[in-house]
């Protein structure tokens, strides 16, 4: 009985809506107002009718109201008997706003308003309506997202919507998705040939909904031929997924490798070119990260721009600290590498404690600017996260700049001269002390720049440097001391190796394997992947 009644009222509503939209100019508004009035009652049955009315009114605000209903933000004020919008729930109760002017908020008690009830059927209906709205949106990305959403819950209505869109869809990507949706529906058809015909289209798609449906078809379908076809389509999809999974691992590996290269490349200069062990290198990275933090504190309103200031600032700050370390300590320990190691380790402890005393031992959070968040979606199962992408690009940029400085500038020439033969360089008029200080400053400055990058990835705290120092040494030693290319190749390959091992063995074991590998590798090639040749190597 009740079903008949509901059906009748629904039909009536459809009829009314048809009349409304054709006969009266303001019909939309009437239907919309009527729908709002029904929803205001807060009774589920009437709400259901109200939703239908809102949908049929094709009013501008329908989508907004329905969406907030779906997000459980539409409330009914009990005393005023009108709809209000929830802004947030807090300890005092509810912060609400009027539907028309969302700016004017007021606080009411928890029990003063009641949420408009919804059931799953209504939710489905609203979702479908919203999707169809999005289906005809102007932006391609919105349309794509709408179809992707619909794929997992196709029914006759939504399919009709999609088919309608197909007639005048111009974007090839969206067209492809539409074809997928139609094929997905065909897979449910009674006709075996239709099902068979649908499968080749589906095998091109990487949507999870398609994969689920195909998996079901491959086992449950009545026809053997369809089962087999579905199976081979699935295999094709799985191959693609495996391939993209592999590409993703490489991408993750390269981004991890970039972090390693960034952390190690400053060391490649101080250790590799100057032959000076700087255990405080990690702390110079940390100083760069804290510089980023301080700069963000100074310009809280423009986080996005602060990074561009932080890079040169961190370079200068870390570079100056580096020069101070070189002038204050390291120059007295020339030719005593083990003592240098100990003294710089002492410096690292002092710097750590200094940061603890100044900034507190707790981690500081450095904000990530908006342009770093987000990702580029290549296809449904593979997307490049922007911050990883930027890290890779940043690493390559730093590497290129450093390479040019060493190969193309006067300073670079002098640095290489001193590193190859100190006495001869001095005889030719190079001020070796001055070059040492600048080289150390350059290496330290690069460490600071690495700190800026790391501040975007990990927590900024006093222990930031310590966690990278061993990795950095491994990269430099693995790549071959005194060889920037070696550092780049070593860092990237260690990063990729780590990420390749991780799913097999877990993150910690992967790291252990890599360490053990390097220890064994050093036995075979004590001078790294790209050893220095000639007399300079013997120094």
């Amino acid at each position: 009985m009740t079903i008949c009644k509901r059906l009748a009222s629904a039909l009536l509503l459809v009829f009314m809506s048809l009349c409304g939209s054709t006969s009266y100019g303001e019909g939309n508004q009437t239907l919309f107002d009527e729908g709002i009035r029904l929803i205001e009652t807060g009774k589920l049955k009437k709400v259901a009718d109200g939703v239908d009315l809102l949908i049929n009114s094709k009013h501008d605000r329908s989508a907004f109201i329905l969406e907030s209903m779906l997000e459980s933000k539409l409330y009914r004020h009990k005393k005023q008997k009108q709809l209000v919008m929830l802004v947030e729930k807090n300890d005092k109760g509810l912060l609400i706003a009027d539907l028309d002017s969302l700016e004017s908020t007021r606080q009411i008690g928890k029990r003063k308003a009641k949420r408009i009830p919804l059931n799953n059927k209504l939710r489905g209906k609203i979702k479908g309506y919203l999707a169809s709205q999005n289906l005809n949106a102007d932006q391609v990305s919105v349309r794509k997202a709408a179809i992707q959403k619909l794929l997992s819950a196709l029914d006759d209505e939504t399919l009709a919507l999609i088919k309608a869109r197909a007639l005048y869809e111009s974007n090839p990507d969206v067209q492809l998705l539409i074809d997928t949706a139609i094929a997905l529906d065909a897979l449910q058809s009674e006709n075996e040939t239709d099902r068979l015909k649908a499968i080749p289209t589906l095998s091109e798609s990487l949507e999870p909904a398609v994969r689920n449906q195909l998996t079901q078809t491959a086992t449950n379908d009545t026809s053997k031929a369809v089962q087999l076809a579905a199976q081979s389509a699935l295999e094709k999809i799985e191959d693609k997924i495996a391939f993209y999974g592999f590409v993703e691992k490489i991408f993750f590996g390269l981004s991890l490798g970039s972090v390693l290269v960034l952390a190690a490349i400053g060391l490649a200069i101080t250790f590799g070119v100057m032959g000076c062990i700087n255990m405080a290198h990690g702390e110079l990275i940390m100083i760069g990260a804290y510089t980023t933090y301080v700069i963000q504190l100074m310009m809280p309103n423009s986080i996005g721009a602060s990074l561009f200031i932080a890079v040169p600032a961190a370079f200068v700050v870390s570079g100056l600290v580096g020069i101070a370390i070189e002038r204050g300590v390291i120059q007295f320990l020339k030719g005593r590498p083990l003592e240098t190691l100990l003294a710089t380790f002492g410096i690292s402890l002092v710097l750590q404690q200094a940061v603890r005393s100044i900034f507190s031992p707790l981690n500081r959070s450095v904000e990530t600017p908006d342009w770093m968040a987000g990702s580029i979606e290549i296809n449904p199962i593979f997307s490049l996260t922007l911050n990883r992408l930027y890290i890779i690009l940043f690493c390559l940029a730093v590497f290129a700049v450093l390479f040019l400085v060493l190969k193309r500038t006067v300073l670079g020439l002098q640095v290489r001269a001193v590193s190859q033969n100190r006495n001869m360089a001095r005889a030719m008029g190079v001020r070796s002390e001055w070059v040492d200080a600048l080289t150390f400053g350059l290496g330290s400055g690069i460490a600071g720049v690495a700190g800026v990058a790391l501040s975007q990835l990990t927590n900024v705290g006093p222990n930031l440097g310590q966690s990278y120092i061993i990795d950095s040494f491994m990269v430099v030693v693995f790549g071959g001391v005194g060889n920037l290319w070696g550092t780049l190749v070593a860092g990237m390959s260690l990063g990729v190796a780590n990420k390749m091992l991780e799913p097999v063995s877990g993150a910690v074991l992967a790291k252990i394997f890599v360490l053990v590998f390097i220890i064994l590798f050093i036995q075979k090639k004590p001078r790294g992947l790209f050893p220095q040749k000639g007399r300079a190597a013997e120094g």
Partner: protein
């Protein structure tokens, strides 16, 4: 690159019991007897009474001193700067810890007669294979020496043969202890994860909390230090020791003369690791816990500073350095925790720049003047 001038050590005429050794052993014996008397026979209220807490603390310092001596042997006399000696110390400690864990028996929180608490907690059904036999004291003590010794042997065999020296060697020793730390932090390894092994009850049937056991452990540490010191003196004054000095000062030349540099390095290195293991084994029952933090590279490098501060290639310098730095650490971390890292860091810098021969260098300079 000579660390010590040739006048100071004249290897040909050296005997095991030279003046400094005799002096050191006498002081050690005197201190031990003094501690025993003040702990046992002086009444509690008296100003001279040494509480058992202090005895255990001193015992801990003595195990550190033994560890420092083992580092001095390879750094001072062989020129190998190990930044991973904490690994051998900790491995010895873990071997002892495993014995002590097995001794707990069914007195653990879960009351399992065989499995230690953390294994019950992880829902393990049986003991992993490497835990078998650790209920026997003798075998456990063998492992205390064997595990660090064998690891060092393997590591040294690979490293010295491929002639990895100097800074490279230091860095890969650091990588070794870092890798071990990461491994021991894993619960799956079967060594208690980051909690390590703790909650020990007794050793060979003696209650670990009792004063008598603690005093005995202190005395054992003193004896171990004395024996370790004499053994190191023996090596240093033997022909092997003289070759070691030659390797330290001119490795290539020694090799060209015809000595098997790798073998000399390998044996002294492995011996040093075993000594560090013994120090670890004595350390664990006194502090009552061993956890993966002992593997941390920072710990290992701190040990090197004890030796650097005390003075290399003297052995007694290492003992002085270990005791002084650790006493300072106990004091500062209690009274002024903020200052400790500044002080330790400053110590590294000042020692390397202004005191290349450490405290021992200061002492012998005065001696020469007098």
């Amino acid at each position: 690159m000579s660390l010590v001038s040739t006048q100071q050590i004249n290897p040909i005429q050296e005997t095991i019991f030279n003046r400094s050794t005799v002096l050191f052993l006498t002081v050690l014996a005197f201190v031990s007897v003094f501690v025993v008397i003040c702990n046992q026979f002086v009444p509690v209220g008296s100003a001279l009474h040494i509480p058992t807490y202090t005895v255990t603390l001193l015992g801990k310092y003595l195990t550190f001193a033994l560890l420092a001596v083992s580092i001095d042997l390879i750094w001072g006399y062989l020129g190998i700067l190990s930044l991973g000696h904490g690994a051998f110390f900790a491995l010895g400690g873990y071997a002892m810890g495993m014995y002590l864990m097995r001794q707990i028996g069914d007195r653990g929180v879960y009351g399992d007669p065989v499995l230690p608490d953390f294994m019950v907690f992880l829902n393990w059904d049986e003991l992993p294979w490497f835990w078998h036999g650790f209920d026997m004291f003798g075998l456990s003590m063998l492992m205390v020496v064997l595990v660090p010794g064998l690891l060092a042997f393997l590591f040294g065999w690979l490293t010295f043969r491929s002639r990895v020296t100097g800074v490279y060697l230091s860095i890969i020793t650091q990588a070794l202890t870092y890798a071990l730390m990461l491994a021991f932090y894993r619960n799956e390894m079967g060594f208690g994860g980051n909690n390590g092994l703790t909650d020990f009850k007794d050793i060979l049937g003696f209650d670990l909390q009792s004063d008598a056991t603690r005093l005995t452990l202190f005395l054992l540490s003193a004896i171990a230090l004395a024996l370790g010191y004499i053994a190191c003196r023996y090596i240093v004054t033997s022909k092997l020791g003289r070759v070691a000095l030659a390797i330290r000062d001119a490795e290539s030349r020694t090799r060209f003369i015809g000595y098997k540099v790798e073998n000399v390095k390998l044996w002294i290195w492995s011996f040093s690791a075993a000594l560090a293991g013994i120090a670890g084994a004595l350390y664990v029952p006194q502090v009552g816990i061993i956890n993966p933090n002992e593997f941390s590279p920072l710990n290992s490098i701190e040990m090197v500073v004890w030796v650097a501060l005390g003075g290399r290639a003297t052995l007694y310098g290492a003992v002085i350095g270990a005791v002084v730095v650790n006493y300072a650490k106990t004091y500062f971390t209690g009274a002024l925790p903020e200052v400790w890292l500044f002080a330790l860091g400053g110590l590294f810098i000042v020692t390397t720049i202004f005191l290349p021969k450490g405290i021992a260098g200061l002492l012998s300079r005065k001696e020469q003047r007098a």
